[in-house]
């Protein structure tokens, strides 16, 4: 702060008050490397925290993935085990589940967000607040309690299953089961749709009413507006949110574990079982190799996310 003060005193001898200091924005003056660095120093605690509690543990995984658990020497065998056999199948299942449990909720979440966003009738504001606060809560709802909810409603002899069979629709005879891929995807939607509503709303707010008015002044129909204006502007945001949902589905662990107790071999469940100590001797670090594989997948997703966000930033806000 003291450095700023001396830099921006307007004339020699005149005393510039703190207010003047702010109006003579130091960023406008010629950049000095030292001052540049000191400007960034204020974000250092945040970045340090991220490094220590997020990046160092991830680096630890990468280190452990290539380590022989007994000798500590470098080895490829953990990674080799992690990309073959049952573990490869785990990745395939996890990716398939994440795809189902991100595309459907993304579309549903977009529709729901659009429905509450465009509503302007009586009580619209209240409805919006109910949906958005509920989304904040439900997006964090997961794990075993969520599994309970669905077992109580869609289990083989549960309430909704009973209602449906009363009207002649027997879910479990038609190939649905809560404990398979389709069932888990249905459960995941319970936190994925609210998450989508929360993350797509800023993009919807970025659609300027003026664009719509301009389009309709030029004679565009609703379809034309969405085909040529709204859709293209929204698409990068939608895709980046989709990637986030994909990652979130991939990250879910407790829900799937509570529901399937391991009948679907998802990677996150396999990693969890390593942590719980169900390990064959010599394979202690395979869990870390599996985790590293997840980090690599997430890394690819995040690169896509950043690129798409950059693209959507051109129009939104």
């Amino acid at each position: 702060m003291a450095a700023d003060l001396t830099e921006t005193v307007t004339a020699p001898g005149s005393h510039a008050g703190p207010g003047a200091r702010r109006f003579h924005n130091p960023l406008r003056t010629a950049p000095k490397p030292v001052r540049e660095a000191s400007r960034y120093a204020a974000v250092a605690p945040f970045l340090a925290y991220i490094v220590i509690f997020l990046l160092v543990p991830l680096a630890g995984i990468a280190y452990g993935a290539f380590q022989n658990p007994d000798t500590g020497a470098f080895t490829w065998s953990n990674v080799n085990t992690a990309v073959h056999g049952a573990f490869l199948h785990g990745y395939e299942q996890a990716l398939e589940l994440s795809l189902i449990a991100s595309v459907i909720p993304a579309v549903c979440g977009l529709l729901l967000a659009y429905a509450i966003f465009t509503d302007r009738g009586r009580g619209a504001a209240v409805l919006r607040q109910v949906v958005i606060t509920a989304s904040g809560v439900f997006a964090n709802f997961g794990g075993v309690p969520l599994a309970f909810l669905f077992i109580a409603s869609f289990g083989s002899s549960a309430l909704i299953t009973g209602w449906l069979s009363d009207i002649g629709l027997n879910l479990y005879n038609d190939g649905f089961s809560l404990y398979t891929m389709s069932g888990v995807a249905l459960v995941y939607m319970y936190f994925q749709i609210p998450l989508m509503v929360l993350i797509i709303l800023p993009a919807l707010e970025g659609l300027r009413p003026a664009w719509r008015e301009a389009a309709s002044n030029l004679g565009a129909s609703s379809w034309h507006y969405w085909r040529f204006v709204g859709g293209p502007v929204l698409l990068p945001s939608f895709l980046s949110c989709l990637m986030l949902l994909f990652g979130s589905a991939l990250a879910a662990y407790a829900t799937a574990e509570a529901l399937t107790t391991g009948t679907i071999p998802l990677t996150s469940i396999q990693i969890g079982s390593f942590l719980n100590g169900n390990v064959i001797a010599g394979q202690e670090n395979v869990g870390k190799a599996l985790a590293l594989g997840m980090v690599v997948i997430i890394g690819v997703l995040m690169i896509g996310y950043v690129l798409l966000q950059r693209r959507s930033a051109k129009w939104l806000r």
Binding site: P18, R22, F23, A42, V43, P45, Y49, F53, L54, V56, P57, L58, G60, I61, L111, L112, R120, Q129, V130, I132, A134, G136, V137, F138, N140, G143, V144, P145, F148, L149, A152, S153, A158, L159, I160, I193, L195, L198, L201, P202, L207, P209, E213, N217, L244, G247, S248, L250, A251, A254, S268, L275, G287, K288, A291, V295, I298, M302, Q309, A313
Partner: protein
């Protein structure tokens, strides 16, 4: 458009206020399906638990100590998150707006990094003295809450004119700390409240890391207890969900009322929409 024209928003009303077709049926269908999908499982679970289970939750063995641990973790997480995120977010808004995109990307990471992956790394690299205490969990929960805490704070700061407020406060002779404590924080108290509730909701509901770190927090207790009495553990989880939701509703309703009084927009959890963009 009609909504814009009837409001007293500063934006000029469009000259040709051509009423656009709205799709009430379409909208109601979506809302109805969503309501059914989200409320029916809740109803089924309440039916399953039975109303008497809700009363007997609090008297169960282990309930008190598990909740107490979770609450302490929540408070510690809240303190660290606020000390870390509030100054950083304010500073980035004021001085380094270029970094906002980077901040958004960094803080979204915990949503996609699996907690099960994070905890495996944490247990590997953290010193043993830290691993044997529950406070390691609080330190990691700070990371997990960042996506929600940052977005709430960011929305709060976007809804006020931080720059003008800071300049005004500075020209009256206030230093950085005074400006932050007496000018900015009171102006974003809604955002602080929503961040608080979201942090507590996350900490009170987090299961994966707590169970793999072998700490009996409230969600872990619910699962352990389920093996004895499933009805009571269902009741406990629904109870936690509904209470959090009610708190968040209360905050946004009160905040919107205050915001309306001062001529602002509608306050929601992560955004404060200027009036003219609603109903686009």
């Amino acid at each position: 458009m009609a909504a814009v024209a009837t409001q007293t928003a500063p934006a000029p009303a469009p000259i040709v206020a051509r009423p656009r077709r709205s799709f009430p049926a379409w909208r109601w269908a979506i809302l109805l399906i969503a309501a059914v999908y989200f409320l029916l499982p809740l109803y089924a679970a309440i039916r399953f638990a039975g109303l008497h289970a809700f009363g007997s939750v609090v008297t169960q063995p282990g309930f008190g100590s598990a909740l107490w641990l979770s609450l302490r973790l929540g408070v510690v997480t809240w303190v660290i998150t606020m000390l870390l995120m509030v100054p950083t977010t304010v500073y980035v808004h004021l001085r380094l707006p270029r970094l906002r995109r980077l901040m958004e990307t960094i803080t979204i990471l915990p949503i996609v990094i699996p907690p099960v992956v994070l905890i495996i790394g944490v247990l590997q690299v953290m010193p043993l003295s830290l691993r044997s205490t529950p406070w390691l969990l609080a330190l990691e929960y700070v990371i997990l809450t960042m996506p929600f805490a940052y977005r709430a704070l960011d929305a709060g700061l976007r809804s006020i004119d931080v720059k003008t407020l800071t300049e005004a406060s500075g020209s009256l002779g206030a230093g950085w700390l005074t400006t932050l404590w007496r000018v900015i924080l009171p102006n974003i108290r809604t955002a602080l409240l929503s961040a608080t509730i979201l942090i507590l909701a996350l900490v009170l509901g987090e299961f994966t890391m707590a169970s793999l770190d072998l700490q009996t927090t409230f969600p872990v207790w619910i699962v352990l207890f389920d093996q004895e009495n499933a009805q009571i553990s269902v009741a406990a989880s629904i109870f936690a969900l509904v209470v959090t939701w009610l708190f968040l509703m209360l905050i946004t309703v009160v905040a919107t009322r205050q915001s309306r009084r001062t001529g602002g927009g509608e306050v929601t959890l992560f955004s404060v929409a200027p009036r003219e963009t609603i109903g686009n």
